[in-house]
């Protein structure tokens, strides 16, 4: 069977594949290479050296670079709070809907995918008045942005968790737990959560990546995060800004490689689990995938 499949395979030949992947891949590496080349330039005289990288890693950055570190700190804090908001609010709801209110499945999915339809720039128009109220209630601490970020990570987090939730068949698991006398909290924390921890981890990582890359909402609500700080510092010293942009890029890349390894995203190991364990995908899952 597998031999036959290979014989009639409609895909490209090995050589054609590597030519396409190679050409497009190389084109996409050009801007990254240009960024690296840019950071190594030695000023107007020409030539290259590592002095700027040494300055960044050797702690030789003066006060004018403080915004970057403030922004980085803020972004990391926001990433953590956003993940907490997402885990605390979204996960129990998804589990509850899956187990108890299957009829609400489509509604939940629709709601979670809305942020794709509403651009962040539109959301900001309405968030500005909301945040002026929040500032009066909780102060203008940067962490409050995490509530808005929780909304923009919804589609990604929902997708990662849903894939996992469907693949392990939590409905049967929870029925089994309940017939053994478990309560709802026990089911949630001791049965469902351990079974979907891959999905939860993937959802957390993708949320971190989205939060670290977020610019629109922070910029227009006048908060400092990594991206807005990069824009500010870029005006004074584009070289250091590009170094930090590269570092953030590498960090996000490593994070997403980790997601792929853990599985749980539709493009990662989750697919394997889906094929292996479950005979029929549900319509809702397909709409998400």
């Amino acid at each position: 069977m597998s031999r036959l499949m290979e014989d009639v395979h409609p895909g490209p030949s090995r050589r054609a594949r590597w030519i396409i992947v190679g050409v497009i891949g190389l084109l996409f590496l050009v801007p990254i290479a240009a960024m690296i080349e840019f950071t190594l330039r030695k000023g107007l005289g020409g030539g290259y050296d590592f002095s700027r990288w040494a300055a960044v890693f050797g702690g030789g950055l003066g006060n004018e670079y403080k915004p970057i570190f403030t922004g980085l700190g803020n972004s990391l804090l926001l990433a953590v709070v956003t993940v907490v908001v997402m885990l605390v609010l979204l996960v129990p709801t998804m589990v509850l809907v899956r187990i108890r209110f299957p009829k609400l499945q489509r509604v939940l999915e629709f709601v979670c995918l809305i942020p794709i339809t509403i651009p962040a720039i539109v959301l900001v128009v309405g968030l500005a008045p909301v945040y002026s109220v929040i500032a009066r209630m909780f102060g203008s601490g940067v962490w409050t942005l995490a509530f808005a970020y929780g909304v923009i990570v919804l589609p990604y987090a929902f997708r990662s968790i849903q894939t996992n939730l469907v693949a392990v068949d939590v409905v049967t698991l929870s029925e089994a737990a309940r017939s053994l006398g478990a309560g709802w909290l026990t089911i949630l924390f001791r049965v469902v959560v351990p079974n979907i921890r891959r999905g939860l981890l993937a959802a957390s990582f993708i949320s971190v990546a989205v939060v670290l890359g977020e610019f629109t909402i922070a910029a227009l609500l006048n908060r400092v995060n990594l991206q807005t700080a990069l824009v500010v510092v870029n005006k004074a010293d584009p070289f250091v800004a590009v170094i930090f942009a590269l570092l953030a890029l590498v960090f996000a890349f490593v994070l997403l490689i980790a997601i792929g390894r853990i599985g749980g995203t539709p493009s990662g190991g989750g697919r394997r689990g889906r094929r292996g364990r479950r005979p029929l995908p549900t319509p809702s899952e397909k709409a998400v995938a």
Partner: protein
């Protein structure tokens, strides 16, 4: 599906008990519902309603009339053609790349690197992309300097276009292609090997497989993904904000202008009506998208 699993396991009496407990477990939905209403529903409604309010909070249509302003219309025009152009190019390149990945091991190094890299470039772009393209095709960019000094080609012979709308084309394509790879490759995986086998057994060639099976099955997905790319470019803000030095050539930049400059009299709530305009475009695009996706799902059973 749920019903078929639960009904044999749970006898009738606990089910009745469950119905009694219904309200308590429904309470579990309240926090999320409240959160979504406050941070998604409320801002959206505010954004849309302010478009109909004047400076004192009274109802007015003057902001909507401001949408007919040539500057605003021009921005919508720019946004639309920029999104359409980059969506088409991105979709074609991305689909070609997906095609090249057919038959690559799903767990192999190539696939996991491509998946992660597409994720980063599609979602993380924004500000970084602006930097990258200034370093590449800026006035002192690597490629600009190379073309000028080695080949004698001055890409800015007719003026510097990188900081204007045409300058957004390349950066946008740079995040559109990875998004296409992410969204379109699941569709390619729904092509069943049995179809290829059937085609081969009936004496069909690879070409006839693509002509009669592959392309017709994939076409709705392709156009769906194309629309998603369009929506993605249309709502993108960060790259343009970091790249363009002055002026507000596209709608998101117009919204920023309307939000940050409170001085322009009679335009207090222009941001709201611009947002309304964007939402209308997005809803049209996403509705067609969901229709196409439902069509595409037919072959994914």
């Amino acid at each position: 599906m749920t019903a078929t699993i639960t009904s044999p396991v749970v006898p009738a009496s606990p089910r009745a008990a469950r119905r009694v407990r219904f309200p308590t477990s429904a309470l579990g939905l309240v926090p999320f519902a409240a959160y979504v209403l406050l941070f998604l529903g409320l801002p959206t409604v505010i954004a849309l309603v302010t478009g109909f309010l004047d400076g004192d909070g009274g109802f007015t249509l003057s902001n909507l009339i401001a949408l007919g302003n040539p500057v605003v219309l021009n921005a919508f025009g720019n946004s639309l053609w920029l999104s359409a152009l980059t969506a088409v190019i991105g979709a074609l390149l991305g689909a070609l790349f997906c095609y090249a990945l057919i038959g690559a091991k799903p767990t192999g190094v190539l696939r996991s690197v491509v998946d992660a890299a597409s994720g980063v470039l599609a979602q993380f772009g924004g500000v970084m992309l602006a930097f990258a393209f200034v370093a590449t095709i800026g006035i002192q960019g690597m490629i600009t300097v190379f073309l000028r000094d080695s080949l004698g080609i001055d890409i800015f012979a007719n003026g510097v276009w990188l900081y204007d709308t045409p300058g957004l084309i390349l950066p946008y394509i740079y995040f559109q292609v990875p998004l296409m790879i992410i969204t379109f490759s699941p569709a390619l995986e729904s092509l069943k090997p049995q179809w290829a086998e059937a085609n081969a057994m009936l004496g069909g060639s690879t070409l006839s497989y693509w002509r009669h099976v592959g392309v017709p099955v994939l076409l709705p997905s392709f156009f769906g993904c194309l629309l998603l790319l369009f929506a993605n470019a249309f709502s993108s803000f960060a790259t343009a904000a970091a790249l363009t030095s002055q002026g507000s050539q596209i709608v998101p930049l117009q919204i920023r202008g309307a939000l940050t400059s409170e001085t322009v009299l009679g335009q207090e709530n222009l941001a709201g009506s611009l947002a309304l305009g964007m939402i209308v475009v997005m809803i049209v695009v996403m509705s067609i998208y969901s229709v196409l996706m439902r069509r595409a799902a037919r072959w994914q059973r």
